[in-house]
Amino acid sequence: QDLTFAGGWPPNSAPTAKLEEFAKAVEENSGGDVTVKVFPLSLLSFAEANAGVRDGIADITANLMAYFPQEFSHFNMLAEFSELVELEEFSSEMSSLAFTGAITEYVINSCPDCKEQIKAQNQVYLGASSTTSYVLQCVVPIETVADLEGKRIRAAGAYWARWAESVGAVPVSMSINETLEGLNQGVVDCTASNTADFVNFGFIDVVKYLYLGLPGAQFNVAYTMNRDSWNSLSEDNKEAMLKSAAKLNADIAYVYIEEARVGKERAPNEGIEYVEASDELVTMNREFIAEDKDAIAEIYKERFSIESGSEAADALTELLGKWTELTKDVDSAEALAEIYWNEIYSKIDVASYGQ
């Protein structure tokens, strides 16, 4: 069986290389029964990916669910709780690995509404990777809470816009491709972007300051498969697909950390102050998150009639505790894939999954 994977990352990027590895893994795990051809960007853009896989233009994709607030409200609410990783007990360089595990486990085991939503889009959920945390990358110094007042900050989504408004900054909507120029020419003072995009989108060439721990939260990339294609697989091949998905989950999450490390290493040579945000700012941020947790539940209740917000927040907090423990000593993507497989994917009942 020949399947297609439409990725929205550029052809020569590190994530695209991981998609190729996923394709190889599927072929190996299925004993050659199933092959996957990867189309980076040429088949579906991120904006088209959801509808494209729904209609079978491609079989599998990296689905940026944040683009579709209505279609994936449950998933997006869970993704917004990624702000919790900035709390003292979870905060670390590897926190995205823990959140990747937590959200994937929660969606697969504890979120029937998620299953409904993904089914309504004629797709099956194969997991989701979390990017590294979003941090302020600025051309001007931000030392105190007062420094944030009136600063124009590029905000990639609702969480960051809410955060900017609450601290007195001005959230600016700008496509990621324009952000480098926006920073360079001073249209915006800062971007809230993850530490991997710091390198990938060239912000490292123009910003002067990078503040870890502020504003926090992570972006969630889900992997989804056309439901008909999934159901056409034999049970063995479904298992092979899940096994490969565990690897993909781990690979992409891990590659973001590796790219972030490159940025951290290069930053001093570029004369960039790459530091933890000041205590004052971090304290302010953690206070914001503690309150925002309830605000998220309120917003999703009001906009999408989702009642389970605070419940989900509590469950994810607990899962984050478990996953922080499980992932804190991980030193390779292989080891990580093993953990995701053992803890989540191997327990899935392939016969009924995605039905």
Partner: protein, 178 residues
Amino acid sequence: MFQIGRLLSNLAKLASLLGAICVVLMMLHVTGDVIGRYLFNAPLPGTTVIVAHYYMIVLVFIAIGVAEEKRSHISVDVLTDLLPDRPRNVLSILSGILTVAVVVIIAIGGWTEAVKKTNMGATMEQGSQMIDIWQSYWLLPLGAGLMALIAGYRVITQITGWRNGLSETDINAKFIND
């Protein structure tokens, strides 16, 4: 038949006016956003979403029918100009039929997606706001429908030789931009 042509022509005029208004609104909206952001630290909320999902859709899809009426769609007439009148007219009719078919396909595709987006009540997020976008999906089948009607009507008048009531010449529109 001539009356139908006049009717279509008037519809195209209406579409053209609507589109021209959107061109101006888009200019003012983006300029307002820039001024608000730069001078007052207060960008207009939702600008990029509204520009992309409303103005752009109107500018392209409401206008394809207008471009069809004015014969502004770009084609290559090197070879056909060498042909005698009769085969050239036959080709022109076939090309018109193909145009109708393709535009109907676009309209149907747009329609099915519009139904899905409407049922979903599709929105986009900008900043901390949500903006409805499902309405804009209907502009696509609407505009493609107008183009299909105009192209179809032209084929009929070409075959029958009836006088067509379209206003096809727009001297200024000849300056297509490259």
